[in-house]
């Protein structure tokens, strides 16, 4: 790691007295929590009153800028389009597609710049106006670098075309160049200029061009040596410029706004058919000559220099240091990776540079309350660590409305993240239970296929039924459908409700067999058996015989089962004795009813057989 170039900036936190008390902090994904502790800095360990707030400190202000959000959203669309470009495409068609993608990115940057410029002009107070203006210049620098990378790495312009592209590049970014070229073009040898620069669509080969240029260059030199224009110092310096004389060019320094402008002009006149690999030599010397030892190169200069040297990794590294968020390097690296320009450097945590940068960018997006949806797609295209990062992030998205929860669940289900689905549904179900929305809680557990939670909620329903004597949420329980099979308790709940419905519709025979099956199939929890048997009482007391003899024997067996298991109580208080009394009375009533029913059933069945 590099050493820091300067002292880190100090941020003062309002309300916290760092001289008196010690502070503590903890890192989050994109933020930091800071608060004051009660530990005093002085030797005495008395507890002094401290600031009661916990502060959240954010580093990445860019994510919150309104205008930059448009950049993030639009570039997200371009990113997705790039990933979906057919891998089969090779050669020229692929290159032209990649160049188009690069131009799209650049136009988005420009649009953003334009808008921010408008806002900077219209800003009411000078401080924010300055802030916007500085943001505009950062965006401008980004576009400058991207454009150069497009020319050198993506377009891969060959000698000859290279200089044309560089001319366009400079022209786009420097306004004053127009006056200079107008100057030169209006000079003595326009015809030579015109025919020479007829490059688009012409069929001359590189050697022919080179010969032509050599010829013209020699002619100019001859003019100079013959002192043809000695009388006119202006024209003579023009001639020197056209010969690519560096000193003459440097004399016009005010017209050349920066060193790369100087570089391109110099190349235009001294070596227009420069090959890409020779560029870096000219670049380095142009930078040195232009700065003239007065000032040192700025970060932007170093980045451009690295680009001219075709050192992509250096470009990306310097950009990462200089820029405040990962947007630029992430997208540029991804594009260059699609051009197959990055060897997979194995960084020490196992993935390559493209993936590292995309992961950082996407994590930054997830720290924002709204832009997390964009982050999802970026994680999708990180083959090694994307999925696991996405799983961790998805679980931590705050869910305050059902619609947001549904969107999050849709994202998880699409990617078969069953663990996350289950955990999110469980959180929502717990929230619903706490708010006494049992129906909602049940729906969530059904969606998560969480049998344990469904059992819990069903128990709550049954308990409510026992307390109130009636069911709540009938519209839910009556319409459970196949979801009933999720857990035994849930099935019992549904079937028990069905029993009540049948009883209400006077379908006694069906109700009776259902009741019996609930007990014999052991779906019913033991605690409920007494209730079920008590429910059977009215059926036993009916005029007609509903339970057959066989069924009655079953019921008796269940009753004995139940009573035999009850522990014998020793000393007990009044309430328990009263309860026991009630229990005993109930059991006796049941036994009586069962016996009577058995008698009638046997008689009835005996009679039928006889007739």
């Amino acid at each position: 790691m590099e050493e820091l170039d300067g002292e880190p900036a100090v941020t003062v936190i309002p309300g916290v007295n760092s001289k008196k008390n010690q502070m503590c902090f903890d890192w989050g994904p994109g933020e930091m929590l800071v608060c004051e502790t009660s530990f005093s800095k002085k030797e005495k360990s008395e507890m002094v009153p401290s600031c009661p707030f916990i502060y959240i400190i954010r580093k990445d202000v860019d994510v919150y800028s309104q205008i930059l959000r448009k950049l993030f959203n639009e570039s997200h669309g371009i990113f997705l389009g790039l990933q979906r470009i057919d891998e089969e495409l090779t050669g020229k068609s692929r290159k032209s597609q990649l160049v188009r993608v690069s131009k799209n990115y650049r136009s988005v940057i420009r649009a953003c710049m334009e808008e921010m410029h408008q806002v900077a002009i219209a800003a009411k107070d000078p401080a924010s106006g300055r802030q916007f203006s500085s943001q505009v210049s950062i965006l401008s620098a980004m576009e400058l670098i991207w454009n150069l990378c497009e020319i050198l790495f993506i377009e891969v312009a060959p000698a000859g075309h290279l200089l044309l592209h560089l001319l366009d590049w400079v022209r786009l970014h420097v306004c004053e160049v127009d006056s200079l070229s107008a100057d030169v073009l209006g000079s003595e040898n326009p015809s030579n200029h015109d025919s020479f620069w007829n490059l688009p669509g012409n069929t001359q080969t590189l050697t022919e061009l080179e010969l032509k240029w050599q010829h013209w260059h020699e002619e100019c030199e001859r003019y100079l040596q013959d002192s043809t224009f000695a009388t006119n110092p202006h024209l003579e310096s023009l001639l020197k410029i056209m010969l690519g004389d560096e000193a003459a060019l440097l004399e016009q320094k005010e017209l050349l706004s920066n060193w790369y402008h100087f570089l391109v002009t110099r190349l235009l006149y001294s070596n227009p058919i420069v090959k890409p690999i020779d560029l870096h030599y000219y670049a380095q010397s142009s930078l040195d000559l232009f700065l003239g030892g007065e000032s040192s190169p700025e970060p932007l200069d170093n980045i451009l220099l690295a680009a001219f040297e075709f050192d992509i990794h250096q470009v990306i590294k310097e950009c990462s240091i200089a820029l405040s968020n990962w947007w630029f390097v992430a997208h540029l690296t991804d594009l260059l990776d699609h051009c197959k320009l990055l060897q997979s450097h194995n960084l020490y945590f196992g993935s390559n540079m493209r993936e590292f940068l995309l992961l950082e960018y996407a994590s930054g997006l997830f720290a924002h309350p709204s832009l997390w949806q964009l982050g999802v797609d970026y994680f999708d295209y990180c083959p090694k660590l994307g999925r696991v990062s996405l799983e961790l992030h998805m679980e931590r998205i705050p869910l305050n409305t059902e619609q947001k929860a549904l969107k999050v669940l849709r994202i998880c289900e699409q990617r078969q993240m069953t663990e996350q689905v289950r955990s999110i549904c469980k959180i929502l179900a717990m929230k619903a239970v706490r708010n006494n929305r049992l129906g909602s809680a049940l729906s969530w557990s059904i969606r998560a296929k969480d049998a344990a939670f469904a059992t819990l909620v069903s128990d709550r329903f049954l308990r409510d039924y026992c307390e109130r004597g009636c069911f709540s949420d009938l519209d839910l329980i009556d319409n459970l459908g196949p979801a009933m099979m999720l857990s035994d308790r849930l099935t019992f709940l549904g079937k028990y409700r069905e029993f009540h419905r049948m009883y209400g519709e006077k379908r006694f025979a069906d109700a009776a067999s259902l009741l019996l099956s609930l007990m014999t199939s052991r779906i019913a929890p033991r605690s409920f058996w007494m209730t079920l048997l008590t429910d059977a009482l009215p059926l036993l007391e009916q005029k007609q015989v509903i339970f057959s003899a066989e069924q009655t024997y079953e019921l008796m067996r269940c009753l004995e089962d139940l009573t035999s298991r009850r522990p014998v109580r020793g000393e007990s208080d009044i309430q328990q004795l009263q309860d026991e009394d009630i229990e005993t009375t109930k059991v006796e009533m049941l036994r009586l009813a069962l016996a009577r029913n058995l008698a009638r059933a046997i008689i009835r069945e005996g009679s039928l057989e006889g007739s």
């Binding site: 205008i67 959203n73 708010n435 519209d475 319409n479």
Partner: protein, 384 residues
């Protein structure tokens, strides 16, 4: 042909609605309102599309939509119907229902009335008070009906402080949307795929007439009533199935049309040409469904390129006993025989389209990619 204008607006759009035009007016759609969600600060904003009279130098219109003004909104904007020419009602994820007044002459939005505790889990006085999101609002001047995620229905009257009527626990699950059938009767859809109706004239608090899809309990997200036939509604659900229902009869939908496997967030009948229907989905698609049967050269679904749809449907109930005179083409659609044209309206797909609204001859929609699209001159207008 339609022209579609896109604009990135730095906020995820949850709802967009056209401002209604005065009845009988000859104007075309001019202003729409949007509500955002999932931001730390959400906004309700009216926008204006270019004046149709203004042609720029190449004869095209002035360009895309412009923000008129905005106002901060506490919580996500869950629903945004228009109350009248000037007032918009919003439902918030904090359980608050607000009426905003938009004055076009000085372009300001202000809060006209607010019911802050319209929806909550535990009461405002209790220590465990927590608000519940309000899922949907529907207006019929002067009444406002709101439904909450926790199963409560409120009936408000504009300019009255207290709710006229409140029904608690009207649904054991969460309401997702509400619409008026005939004026005192509303229809709601919920997260277990049930449609329930409630007539406010009746005293009881029970919702009647539960209709539902199969027992699959697929949540329904949106509902819209046919503009001319008040018993016909269309719903869209989580599995992307568009269902047409006749609420007078049966407990099953009349037809099911499936487009894609993603939640259908909104469904709208075209207000003056109800044979056309529009839907938008979580997968970023915006579809135009054309069931009109009177176009002579009806193109077959399979001939047109660029119309991607896996289209299977089932017609469920027998329509023979319905009065033939008020037949709707949606009810009689037997998709195996008749052809429903489906057209995708957005140029490329990215994030979810959350909301759409149609007002002749324009369509507006808002997405999670923080973009608003406005389509002018929906194409079939030229045929008619």
């Amino acid at each position: 042909m339609e022209e579609i204008y896109a604009k990135f607006v730095s906020q995820k759009i949850r709802k967009t609605r056209w401002r209604p035009l005065p009845p009988g007016s000859l104007q075309t759609a001019e202003t729409f309102a949007t509500g955002s969600w999932d931001n730390e600060e959400n906004y309700v904003s009216p926008w204006s599309i270019g004046d149709f009279g203004n042609l720029d130098s190449d004869g095209g219109f002035e360009g895309d939509h412009q923000l008129l003004c905005d106002i901060r909104h506490h919580g996500d904007v869950m629903d945004l119907p228009s109350f009248d020419q000037e007032r918009i009602v919003t439902a918030s994820s904090t359980g608050c229902v607000t009426v905003f007044l938009h004055r076009p002459n000085n372009q300001t939005l202000s809060v006209n009335q607010q019911w802050t505790t319209a929806h909550y889990h535990a009461g405002p006085g209790t220590p465990s008070y927590s608000s519940a999101p309000c899922a949907g609002v529907v207006c019929n001047n002067p009444e406002i009906v709101t439904v909450g995620e926790h199963g409560r229905i409120n009936l408000f009257k504009a300019d009255h402080k207290e709710a006229t009527r409140t029904i608690d626990n009207a649904d054991s699950n969460t309401f997702h949307a509400v619409t008026f059938l005939q004026t005192p009767e509303i229809l709601t859809v919920n997260s277990t795929g049930q449609l329930k109706t409630l007539d406010f004239r009746q005293q009881g608090n029970e919702l009647s007439h539960i209709l539902s899809l199969t027992s699959d309990r697929v949540p329904l997200h949106c509902v819209d009533r046919h503009p001319n036939q008040q018993h016909v509604v269309a719903t869209g659900g989580q599995d992307g199935i568009l269902s047409i229902w006749d609420v007078r009869q049966g407990t099953m939908p009349v037809s099911l049309l499936k487009a894609r496997e993603a939640e259908m967030w909104e469904v709208h009948f075209h207000p003056s040409n109800p044979d056309h229907l529009f839907t938008c989905s979580e997968d970023g698609s915006l579809w135009h469904w054309d069931a009109s049967t009177d176009v002579p050269e009806k193109l077959s679904l399979f001939q047109q390129g660029g119309r991607s749809s896996t289209f299977l449907s089932q017609s469920i109930s027998n329509q023979a006993n319905v009065h033939q005179s008020v037949i709707s083409s949606w009810l009689t659609t037997d998709p195996a025989k008749d052809r429903i044209e489906i057209t995708g309206l957005l140029p490329s797909r990215s994030l979810s389209v959350n909301s759409l609204d149609v007002l002749d001859p324009c369509l507006v929609c808002g997405t999670d990619a923080e973009a608003i699209y406005v389509a002018r001159y929906l194409f079939f207008i030229e045929i008619l």
